[in-house]
């Protein structure tokens, strides 16, 4: 999907917030904002939001010299999420339909997203997770996903954010024995999960963890490594987490289930759900 006009203020907010993360130097922060303003003035709107978002964050990295501005935030998200796991595992274990509960939790974990400017503490996270469990999610979609997983012989699971990977693990544990590759970004971008995050969760002990070789907060296939492109091509089922993967893959001819929280008006309009909704959408 193409960027919407609503993406423009959001990109500026991201540049402002990322600038504040990397330095207290007002001059550098001003230079970052001016460079982003200049870039967006002539920006083609014929790109996906993650493509332009990546360009914005490249400016932040370049002008600050900090290649991973969200490192601290990612670590913090991981620890926050980790502490919730015992309770959530128990929840899955004791639920009537563990797969459904795990799918819901995987979507709930998608609210950990600093591209959207969220800052939630442990209490906030716990509260939102339990609220998510009460939110409507299409039973039909959950069953369809279940059936497709059962039929699949090569599943690619595209992760999204640090912290969220703990919630992904809950779902992947429910899928023990299925042939899953878990995919992370290749280069630090916002708070998106990298290999080190997947390893911290121990996902590499359960499934194969690969990176896509790209610094896009989504999945633009042309920009991914040859290796990953091959893995994507060979998959007969893709599970894709988060808005960024939806924004970049929704037009792709590949059987894909997008699992996400709708977090902004631009995606809301495209996907046909309200902001805040928990969504399973199938394409391809």
């Amino acid at each position: 999907m193409r960027i919407g006009l609503g993406c423009i203020p959001c990109f500026l907010r991201q540049a402002f917030e990322a600038g504040a993360l990397v330095t207290d130097d007002q001059e550098i922060r001003e230079r970052i904002l001016r460079e982003v303003l200049s870039r967006l003035t002539n920006q083609s709107f014929d790109k996906t939001p993650p493509s332009v978002g990546r360009d914005i964050h490249r400016i932040v990295k370049l002008l600050s010299g900090d290649n991973d501005p969200y490192l601290e935030i990612k670590r913090n998200s991981n620890y926050l999420a980790m502490r919730l796991m015992p309770a959530l595992k128990e929840l899955i274990r004791s639920s009537a339909d563990p797969f459904e509960t795990a799918v819901r939790l995987a979507i709930a974990g998608n609210m950990i997203d600093y591209g959207q400017g969220d800052r939630i503490g442990e209490e906030g996270l716990r509260k939102t997770v339990f609220q998510c469990l009460d939110q409507p999610v299409s039973k039909d979609s959950i069953n369809e996903l279940r059936e497709e997983i059962e039929k699949a012989s090569n599943i690619v699971y595209l992760g999204d954010n640090a912290g969220e990977v703990f919630f992904d693990r809950l779902l992947i544990e429910e899928l023990e024995g299925y042939p899953i590759k878990f995919v992370v970004r290749g280069v630090p971008i916002i708070n998106d999960a990298l290999k080190e995050d997947a390893k911290m969760v121990g996902l590499d002990k359960l499934v194969r963890v690969v990176d896509n070789g790209s610094d896009v907060p989504g999945t633009i296939l042309e920009e991914c490594s040859q290796e990953f492109k091959g893995q994507f091509r060979e998959a007969d089922l893709v599970i894709a987490k988060g808005q960024g993967n939806y924004e970049t893959l929704s037009d792709e001819q590949k059987k894909t289930f997008f699992l996400l929280k709708v977090k902004c008006s631009v995606v809301s309009e495209h996907i046909g759900y309200q902001e805040g909704d928990m969504v399973i959408v199938r394409s391809g």
Copy 2:
């Protein structure tokens, strides 16, 4: 005070929201955003936020041909506020210190501010008003304001937004007999109050209502009419509502009480109060 870096994403948000108010034509809305981006790229940061905000909204007006994009919103705010008045008048009448209650309500009314992107319905407004009454406001400041009003022989009361003017009237009713001029903007800008709003509240029946001749969402004296500049100069006490008036007058050598809700990080940092705080600050 000068604009802060945090103003930049806010200006873009305002341009986006104002564009959505004036037209459904995506091309015009895109042109507005590109023009604002281009303008801000080379913007001197040595201006006050309302000065640049005015420039942004001039672009919206020029490119859309709509000279008063917030007209509908202003009317709606006026009706919302009007419906609360009987209950609030009763509250003042029955309170131990009617002046203090009226001052608190005048500040509470300042949360009606579409420059900050608020959209509150009647229930939201009612709830926030009553929350505001429980928020801490410096007793000393209230008493100081009371004393200065009693001593004053020429009070200029700078209004801020439509809707909010109803709350201003509550305070001005408590000051019956004092020599007050109520000031509105000279030209439509965001949802700021104009003469027609002051008249709708009947403020012109209580005090003299004047406009400042300017389209700034604040008070930049050099840009105001000669007549208003004279009125400002002659005043021995200024009561100034809202962030815009604070941002443009906080460095002025004039005995001024700023009454406002702190609504953004840039003002918060300058004024030394938290976002959400109800503030009475004296200068001059």
